[in-house]
């Protein structure tokens, strides 16, 4: 009897099968099966994710995947968000756009995070990709509203324009008028980061009015409360809405009008914005609250009882972002009202104040964890914590995948027992077996890293600051965390030994950032010399690192794996070493 072997399927059958495989991991696995599958897979891969734009050159990507329609790139290290990476470090997208302009005329989607995007890049995108649909610029910088005008004018089928958290040079609000009257394809528009006072409001209104598929609209602070009702009435199909400025001194019928406009949006599930919110206008939202699954109040300086009033009306809430004005009492209300809560982020209203002026403590987080067992993601800023609280949280929320705790004063101990918080975080990694991301704070010894290395087998990203006693701490992490991809460390007494002993580990990770630690220039040099597939970049703004003895610590360095060798766009303060250990520049 004739056996039909797998490899006797015609190529297009295989290709059809592969088209159901979307995840990158699975695609990579498929391509590793055999040469034939590698070939077929690479011709039909449509989506590429590159977590570090310097890990591979655009040409190599294009050569392997000739028919890509969607690309996602990330640039600067995460700590750039907190001003630890000097300006001009890199992450330029232009070289990628230039290469792709020639190679991918059918490119439809570009998603960028922490990259430098120039107006020239945007103009090139608008010109080169005839069927361009999605542009997401997350935490990017380097462009102005002129570039946006080019996108608006040039991309006839634009579906998504999302500028979240980007820094845009606001030359004029009139870029919105560059969307032609024929543009009706918008599904998502996020301009919340723009500062421009004159967002051409009439253009915005008309745009919203003629895009029947618009599902997500996030306005910026310049759009005033009185205008929101008009917008909502033109887009009652909205699912996600970001208000602009929520303050006003207008007559009371505005409130009624606004309430009516909100209640006409039957699909609305997600709200954000609320800059300068005046509590008196919050009741306009009440009709929408029961459907809300996501609420971002983290720009809203409202306090209790307004927060409690709002939150108690949202039993379907899955995601809440809020300032610490919510206090423990508000978190209690949250815990009893929102049983489906999956994500909670509490930001500090006065991060540099020193003395807490709100009553938000570890108790609030404990209460939420007890009341909301479906919690998966926590980001919490507070002033004090205990091991007992962390243990309770860990036991109550075993499904946590992301846990980021920031106790504002570095090296703060358990305030009841005065012990380090090792045991508490140990409980988190022990009980939350699916934990992928962890940020530590408070007083921590090498012990906590021992726990992490032992238990956190699925951990992919770890952020450490002001923690540990010795190299043993770093060794525990590098040795034990099998899934580790990104490690960022600042102000810890970690030196050369653990790093050099685990050099091979670094090739299994995306990147390692260390600053204000005690790793010497000699160790960096050695790593750079011996590990050709790692780019070891020392960041020193004052002088070349080899002008000091090799045993001297470097202030900052960033190590990442790359198949394309050292990069060519290094600024003067980034130093790498060649095979002979000579400084390259």
């Amino acid at each position: 009897m004739q056996k039909k072997m797998m490899y006797s399927f015609p190529d297009d059958v295989l290709e059809h099968v592969f088209s159901f495989i979307q995840s990158d991991k699975d695609r990579n696995a498929v391509s590793a099966v055999c040469k034939l599958w590698y070939e077929i897979e690479r011709w039909c891969r449509r989506k590429v994710f590159i977590g570090n734009c310097y890990a591979v050159s655009p040409r190599v990507v294009i050569k392997r995947f000739p028919e890509v329609r969607s690309i996602e790139l990330k640039g600067k290290p995460h700590f750039a968000d907190f001003n630890l990476v000097p300006d001009g470090w890199g992450g330029y997208v232009l070289p990628w756009i230039v290469e792709m302009a020639g190679a991918y005329p059918c490119l439809e989607e570009i998603r960028l995070k922490r990259m430098v995007v120039t107006d020239e890049s945007l103009e090139l995108i608008a010109k080169s990709f005839k069927n361009f649909k999605v542009l997401v610029l997350f935490s990017c910088e380097g462009f102005s509203t002129d570039g946006l005008a080019a996108i608006a004018a040039g991309c006839k089928n634009l579906r998504e324009l999302d500028l979240r958290e980007s820094e845009v040079d606001d030359l004029s609000g009139h870029w919105l008028t560059h969307f032609p009257e024929t543009c009706t394809s918008l599904v998502s528009l996020n301009i919340s980061c723009l500062g421009s006072d004159e967002v051409s409001f009439s253009a915005l209104e008309r745009l919203v009015g003629r895009c029947p598929n618009l599902k997500s609209l996030r306005l910026n602070r310049a759009v005033t409360l009185d205008k929101i009702a008009n917008i909502l009435r033109r887009a009652p199909q909205l699912v996600d809405f970001g208000t602009g400025n929520y303050a006003s001194e207008l007559p009371p019928d505005v409130l009624l009008n606004l309430a009516g406009a909100f209640s006409s949006c039957k699909e609305l599930k997600s709200l954000s914005g609320f800059w300068d919110v005046v509590p008196a206008y919050l009741p306009a939202l009440y009709s929408v609250c029961s459907r809300l699954t996501s609420l971002n109040l983290s720009y809203a300086t409202i306090q209790n009882p307004e927060i409690i009033k709002l939150v108690s009306r949202c039993p379907s809430l899955q995601r809440l972002l809020v300032l610490d004005y919510i206090e423990d009492s508000g978190l209690e209300a949250l815990a009893s009202s929102c049983k489906d809560l999956q994500e909670l982020r509490v930001f500090p209203s006065d991060p540099f104040g020193g003395e807490p002026h709100v009553s938000l403590t570890e108790q609030g987080l404990v209460t939420v964890s007890l009341g909301c067992p479906k919690l998966q993601s926590i980001l919490y800023f507070c002033h004090r914590m205990t091991n007992a609280a962390l243990v309770t949280i860990a036991q109550s929320c075993p499904n946590l995948t992301r846990f980021r705790l920031c106790i504002i004063e570095p090296k703060t101990a358990d305030y009841l027992t005065l012990e380090p918080l090792d045991v508490g975080f140990g409980a988190i990694v022990e009980h939350c077996k699916d934990l992928r991301r962890l940020s530590l704070s408070g007083l921590l010894t090498d012990r906590v890293f021992e726990y992490i290395g032992t238990y956190a087998k699925k951990l992919e990203m770890l952020s450490v600051a002001f923690a540990g006693d010795s190299d043993l701490g770093l060794h525990h992490v590098l040795f034990g965390c099998e899934s580790l991809r990104k490690l960022e460390i600042r102000d810890c007494p970690f030196g050369d030994k653990a790093l050099l002993a685990n050099a091979a580990k670094l090739e299994t990770m995306r990147s390692l950032w260390m600053s204000s630690c005690t790793v010497s220039f000699g160790a960096c040099k050695l790593l750079g010399q011996k590990m050709p597939r790692l780019n070891v970049e020392v960041i020193d703004e004052t002088e070349p690192p080899d002008s000091r003895p090799e045993s001297c610590p470097v202030e900052k360095f960033y190590i990442y794996r790359s198949v394309s060798g050292p990069r060519f766009d290094k600024p003067p303060f980034v130093w790498t070493m060649d095979e002979e250990g000579k400084i390259m520049h």
Partner: protein, 217 residues
Amino acid sequence: MPNMELQLGLALPTPNMIKGFDLNNHRLDHLKQRGCFSNKSKRSFEQAFGNFKQDGKTKTLLLWSGQPNEEEDHKDQKKTTFSTIDDNDDEEVEQVVGWPPIKTWRKKIFNQPNGVGGIENNRVADKENGRSIYVKVKMEGVAITRKVDIRLYLSYQTLSNSLITMFSKDKKCGDDDSTRYILTYQDKEGDWLIAGDIPWQSFMRCVQRLKIIRNRD
């Protein structure tokens, strides 16, 4: 878990699946040859953090000027002192660069009501420059001092309503509902006055601090 004591010169255990590559041995030989291997190169935590130098140029707390024998100078220094290092920032006294880890644009929410650019607010006639006006509010008998953004309120009534609810949970057991309170404020000249006498807009411009005191009449 065995106690893994790190000793100079010994290779640390490496996982089976990754080819063990311990650069410590390479490095030690390399540096010994060049004669610059120094026991002093590894600093203790306290010493490292005590070694705070300000060269006026960078924002970083730790400035490694790199001379190994500097450890001796700072033996007496206590643990980390986080003092102000960047004098350029008037409004925010940043104690340590990048800490707490909050994105830059979030910090600007409170200071620049008109977005990152800080453009003048010319939309609403009454507000002169649109900046948040935070004043401290202290209630007699309550430990915690709170802060409110005066600009959020439209009148004395809305302000006092908000203050009442804010402090209601702090009411002492000794007080009953008949205890009356007076809202007082400190003006630009430093005088304490009873709130309510001057128009709201003028009040917003001159109020420095608020205090809620018991009415003892």
